[in-house]
Amino acid sequence: MGYRDKAVWRNASFDIRRGEFVAVIGPNGAGKTTLFRMLLGLQRPTAGSLTVFGATPRRGNPRIGYVPQRHTIDHDTHVAADTLVRLGVSGTKWGLGVSLRREKEAANEALEAVGAAELGPKSLGALSGGELQRVFLAEALVGNPEMLLLDEPLSNLDLRRSRDLVEVIHGLVQSRHVTTLLVAHDINPLIQCLDKVIYIANGNVATGAPETVLTSASLTELYGVPVEVLHDSRNNIVIVGGEDLHGGESG
């Protein structure tokens, strides 16, 4: 496999293959965002090695699209959504770049790919949380990256909008074969589409298929305290006994 992204996290290693949809789960402060920052080349691992596409991560890798958790955009941002998406390809270029047709088309294509074509001319400040996440996704997608890093895109969405967005992301993973890592707090909206889970807790990492990682035995070992994974009638899970709950809401 040409795409072997290997990361070491305190005696734990995992690799991700091209085209996999991976959830990164764990309590606050477990180091999920740190993992992303290392993959982006913004931070270096203190020990061990980490390679992305077979090389040490470097900042500004055009093969990676990124949606951070934090954004500077709020209700006072009176800028059209497609302007932001276009900056995903042209934002690092010099000069004014007035009306480059190619960039406009790329932006519209990306917006269409996330089912948000109609949001293009709207003001970012007027969009809802779910709409904004689609625009951010389009911004990350516009350069046709091979890997997407999505940091808590579901955090401010209700369950229905979470599932809608997950559907969009899953569609991209399948149609574009883009490797996707998604940090989430609640595994339930994702669980049906995941190839792999990276569960970070207590300085340890458990990784593998969801049905092997999200078990009472595996999480008990990870946390070092008794943890129970419960299933409801709709296959939602609730994790009880760890430092935090990551199931909870049910659809």
Binding site: Y66, T77, V79, T92, W94, G95, S123, E139, L157
Partner: protein
């Protein structure tokens, strides 16, 4: 201030001709025009980078620099440039979040204004120097002042034209821009220094206390009118030009300070646009999405 009182006739062409017979009015229009263009452009980035208060503060920092320069018999513009640039570089180096710290900035602002007061007090000349730094003295711009303003403006405009897309990206989506490899610190410091230069030349027109009217208000109007950054920059320039030109023209015939008219026109434009949009939004809710009311749960609801 502008010499003999000149009678206003309703023949605008002949009024303009009369006005431009005076060298100081020509200088004022030339410098005012260049400054309005620079202020309009820089102002857009001030608004999207949320630097309005920092801009206001840099004006005050500049006041102590200008007053110090007057005290030592140096051209106040150099004192302004030195102090605003140092202050701006400091803010830039501390990072963008530091530039939004109102309490710290306000504390430094007050101290700098006080320092300026001391310098003015130590200076044995006329208080008019202080007055013109605080409120602007566009009619006092000399030929060499116009040339200096033009040179400084060209530097700012070329730099902004080069950095435009990078600056826009870094301003709108900081974390993504950083991940894409933009040098955020260097960009931030560069922008702050460009801002300092723009403030230093704009102070000649409008003074440190009224800097908001040229550096922020036109762009604040522009972002209400359009969502396209380049259109917004053009509108911001037009509002700044409109305020400056009309302000100069009216003051020539009305004999009151130009700064007052410039500030008033900028303010009136802002009020007119906001009021117009509020009325429009009420009549046809879909036409003016920029003034769409925001509810506390607005983010969650579609």
């Amino acid at each position: 201030m502008s010499g003999d009182p000149v009678q206003f006739s309703w023949n605008i062409i002949s009024d303009l001709r009369t006005m431009w017979e005076y060298g100081f009015m020509r200088n004022a229009f030339e410098a005012g025009t260049v400054i309005a263009i620079v202020a309009g452009i820089i102002g857009y980035f001030v608004v999207i980078r949320r630097l309005a208060f920092a801009t206001h503060a840099l004006g005050h920092v500049g006041f102590s620099g200008a007053a110090g320069a007057v005290l030592f018999g140096v051209n106040p513009v150099y004192g302004l440039l030195l102090f605003t640039s140092s202050g701006a570089a400091g803010m830039g180096l501390l990072g963008r979040r530091a530039s939004n710290r109102d309490l710290e900035i306000g504390t430094v602002l007050a101290f700098m204004l006080g320092l300026g007061l001391l310098f003015i007090n130590l200076y044995k000349g006329y208080a008019t120097e202080a007055y013109s730094i605080l409120f602007g003295e566009i009619l006092g711009i000399s030929d060499s002042g116009v040339v200096f303003t033009l040179e400084a403006s060209i530097v700012v405009l070329v730099a902004i034209a080069l950095l435009y897309r990078r600056l826009l990206f870094a301003s709108l989506d900081e974390d993504v821009a950083e991940a894409k490899g933009l040098p955020m610190l260097a960009l931030g410091v560069t922008f702050m220094i460009l801002l300092a230069v723009a403030i230093s030349i704009a102070v000649q027109v409008i003074g440190v206390l009224l800097i908001f009217a040229l550096m922020v208000t036109p762009a604040a109007v522009a972002v209400r009118v359009t969502k396209r950054p380049l259109h917004a920059v053009v509108i911001s320039i037009l509002v700044a030009l409109f305020a400056t030109w009309v302000g100069l023209f009216v003051q020539f015939y009305a004999q009151y300070p130009a700064s007052f008219f410039i500030v008033t026109i900028a303010f009136a434009t802002y009020v007119a646009v906001r009021a117009g949009q509020a009325i429009l939004a009420r009549l046809v809710p879909k036409i003016a999405p920029a003034v769409k009311p925001v509810t506390s749960t607005g983010r969650e609801s579609t």
